[in-house]
């Protein structure tokens, strides 16, 4: 019985041990997400990629240039990890990238495939929770079939002539697929794998933006001199694109950049109408203008860039940024002839350009084309202007004219400023325009005095409305010139002396004032104030314990010397004296009597009684 109980216990123990062992050794697969990614010039995106839920905008990208694409990706553990999730032991990235072109042969497709460097399997360091990739994918540049040099991915290169239908980037999206493979498990020789994908594709917005990038590369390659002169064109941001309308010449694209082109055309038409009425004093009206050119995508101008020397600057066109309009010339003077060529001196075309200048706030205009159109472009918004209407004809046929001597009151109108009203003849004073300062604009009747008042500043006259201040130097000048009026600290000179001024203003001439220096005979250079420290000294005033003075003479005050004191002797009475000093020597030397040979020193007593009886006092020998 005992053995049986033991046997049962052992089996139960073994059973549970095995169960727990299995339970303890068998963890869950980790959950992984893409934490962040950035391809080429795209803005960085942070946050996990969720298949089917992450928006198109977040997965669209722009390359650096047509033959290279930088890629940075990081993968990490998802927040909601399962219980007992494994940690990764190793990982690798696999990246494929290509141009999505419909109907391409496999051979052609290869030409449009980016190649990223092969990624070896990476071991995961202990505690690592982030796994990243960073590298460049390259694409071999190749030319189109035309003999003229063009970049390949512009794709219009496939055709000898620009074809709006076929030469766009649309449908030719670049696509990158990032695959992350994570390895986990307890058996390193037979790890388990987990794979997640991140698909990145150029959507139309970025395909259109890619065209501007293509532009930059084409200009750099094919028009190097022009590129050096004018630089790169800018790549519009994503937010500048909107749904294409009738003002787009992009044809194959459904998006455009539209800087209020419809409003600008309306304002231009109003401006022409006003010009006709108030400048040319004609009765007919200009109701509308016919657009011949609006927004053009960048590839539209690639054709012009490559076609000949006359188009050297076409790649800079404002049409690419939705800021320009081309309209057909209208008969401004109503003479039945369109004066829009050299033969007719472009009279109507120039009238339209001047109308846009005077009344529609157009930035620049060009009107000397030979195909009968006028170009205008705006840096900002256009200005609305209404022609002042004449009084209706019924009033002219009034059967009851005003009594003699009375004058009909002038017609009162509300001016363009919407604030004032009055006679039509005063309308020009209430229209929008540039103030006298030339910097600010608005309704002329509302110009504050600072737009017309000039101040004589240090750097020249400027208008009071321009930011200005009186600087510490006392000058009044534009704030933009503040650097010119800065305070500068005077440097020390080579002798570490400070300038007496200390500091000066950069706008004022300044000569540093350092103390004068003397080259002394002692070999030192010193200031006047330091002269006494370098003068020749006649004697040294140092004394020793005996009160003797140092005997060194003719030395410079700046030079040290070893003090030399007189040698002293000690008399028979123990007194110290200087034998070189006669008085001391006389006082302390030992005298010997010439008769009795007694000795004495005067420092103690005078001559003693001589021992020779015949003599009185002793008499020293010498």
């Amino acid at each position: 019985m005992r053995f049986k109980s033991i046997y049962i216990y052992v089996c139960l123990f073994t059973f549970f041990a095995i169960t727990f062992h299995l339970g303890a050794g068998g963890g869950s697969a980790p959950k992984l997400v893409f934490k962040s990614w950035k391809a080429g010039q795209s803005p960085s995106v942070t946050g996990p990629y969720v298949a089917g839920q992450t928006t198109e905008e977040e997965l669209s990208f722009l390359t650096n240039e047509e033959t290279k694409c930088k890629l940075q990706v990081t993968v990490g553990y998802a927040a909601n990890q399962p219980a007992n999730a494994y940690q990764l032991n190793a990982y690798e990235f696999k990246i494929g990238a290509k141009v999505l072109l419909p109907g391409l042969s496999a051979e052609e497709q290869k030409k449009h495939t980016f190649t990223f460097p092969a990624q070896a399997k990476q071991q995961v360091a202990a505690g690592a929770t982030s796994f990243g990739f960073s590298g460049d994918g390259t694409l071999t540049k190749h030319w189109g079939p035309s003999t003229q040099k063009r970049h390949h991915c512009s794709n219009y290169a496939r055709f000898p002539k620009y074809n709006p239908q076929k030469s766009q980037q649309k449908g030719r999206a670049l696509a990158i697929n990032v695959t992350f493979i994570g390895y986990y498990g307890t058996d390193p020789n037979n790890p388990q794998k987990l794979q997640i994908n991140l698909p990145l594709t150029q959507y139309e917005r970025d395909q259109m933006r890619q065209e501007y990038l293509d532009h930059i590369m084409i200009a750099r390659t094919n028009k190097p001199k022009t590129y050096q002169k004018y630089g790169d064109v800018s790549v519009p941001s994503r937010s500048e694109f909107s749904t294409a309308d009738g003002y787009s010449d992009a044809h194959a694209h459904s998006l455009m950049i539209n800087k209020n082109l419809a409003t600008k055309k309306l304002h231009w038409a109003q401006a022409c109408d006003k010009y006709v009425g108030e400048v040319l004093e004609k009765e007919h009206r200009i109701e509308n203008l016919h657009k011949t050119g609006g927004y053009r995508n960048a590839h539209h101008h690639v054709y012009h860039v490559s076609q000949g020397p006359s188009s050297d600057t076409a790649f800079l066109s404002a049409h690419q940024y939705g800021r320009a309009l081309d309209v057909r010339t209208v008969d401004m003077d109503n003479d039945g002839t369109l004066e829009n060529t050299r033969a007719t001196n472009w009279e109507d075309s120039e009238d339209m350009a001047d109308a846009a200048r005077q009344y529609a706030a157009a930035g620049y205009r060009r009107w000397d084309y030979n195909d009968g159109h006028v170009h205008a472009q705006w840096g900002g918004n256009s200005t609305s202007s209404q022609r002042v209407s004449k009084a209706p004809e019924e009033e002219e046929n009034d059967e009851s004219p005003p009594p003699m001597g009375q004058v009909d009151p002038p017609e009162t109108i509300t001016y363009a400023c919407s604030v004032h009203s009055g006679a039509a003849s005063e309308a020009s004073s209430h229209q929008s325009g540039t103030y006298a300062c030339g910097v600010h604009s608005g309704y002329l009747c509302q110009a504050s005095s600072d737009h017309g008042t000039t101040i004589s500043g240090w750097g020249g006259s400027f208008y009071e409305c321009q930011p200005h201040q009186t600087f510490a130097c006392g000058h009044t000048d534009l704030t933009a010139n503040s650097y010119t009026h800065r305070s500068e600290t005077c440097p020390f000179d080579s002798y570490a002396q400070a300038c007496s001024s200390g500091s000066y203003y950069a706008c004022q001439s300044h000569t540093h004032d350092y103390p004068n220096r003397i080259d002394g005979a002692c070999g030192h250079t010193y200031t006047v104030a330091q002269r006494s420290s370098h003068e020749l000294q006649a004697s040294c005033s140092e004394t020793n314990a005996n009160g003797d003075s140092c005997t060194v003479t003719s030395f410079y005050a700046c030079q040290t010397h070893t003090h030399v004191y007189p040698v002293r002797a000690t008399c028979a009475n123990g007194h110290s004296y200087d034998p070189d000093i006669s008085t001391e020597n006389n006082r302390h030397r030992t005298r010997t009597c010439r008769w009795c040979s007694q000795t004495w020193q005067k420092c103690v007593s005078g001559a003693p009684q001589c021992l020779v009886k015949t003599k009185r006092n002793c008499w020293a020998i010498e």
Binding site: V279, E281, H304, E347, D368, Y369, V439, G460
Partner: protein, 270 residues
Amino acid sequence: MKKQIYWGLAALILLIIGGVFLFVKNQAEIRQLEQEVAEADKLLQQHNAQQVRKEKGHFHDDGTFHEGEHNPFDTLTWKTPVVNMPENIKDPAVAAAWKRLEEISKNRHQWGNFSPRALELMDELTPLPELGSTEDGDCGEGIILFLDELAKLRDPRSAELLVSYQMDSGISGTPPDEALIAMGPAAVPALVARLHDNPEEKRLFTPFYLLPKIVAAHRSELGGIVEHIIIPKMEAIAASEATEENGTVWRNKRFASNALEEILQKPKGQ
């Protein structure tokens, strides 16, 4: 006796020879003296001429003469434009106005800052593009970039070039207009010069458009220029007979009338 005659003849011959010799020598000396006098006269005349010219100008190191003094702001690439005053001005007020215009032109630095970059841009923008030379797709973007940068610098030395672009090229811009207005009096010599273009051949919209705005802000600084130069010229053009309806003269009349209305601040026709 014969001996005396021979001796006498010999002496006579010697005297004659000596006399002739002295005569010829004197003549040579006289000629030489005359030549020296003539040269001295010539030098004196040249010197006098130079003295006179010095008062009117100066000589350069390379020997060339320059009438008048250099404007200290002239550079190798830019010279102060000459103000073409009409001849035989009898009215002293008009003469003073032209003098004032010339003074403004020579001292245009008072109304703006000179910038080395402006001279570079002016060089880049010269010569002007030929009218009608543009091709399809070219909106003058490259020129516009430089013109815009030049306009923003407001360098008064660029006034003539900016006015020229506005009037003589197929490209015109609002920034150049704003620059010319900002330059104020410094732009007036350039605009007045173009006001005197042939109104039958040249469209004068630019000076008629800009001068009233500059006059409104700088009337006191311009002095008699407004009353004695600008307004009379505008009135003359506004009163000219337009032989061709809707042509250049007809347009210039309209431009002049509008400008006068703005300057005189009274309706047209009054």
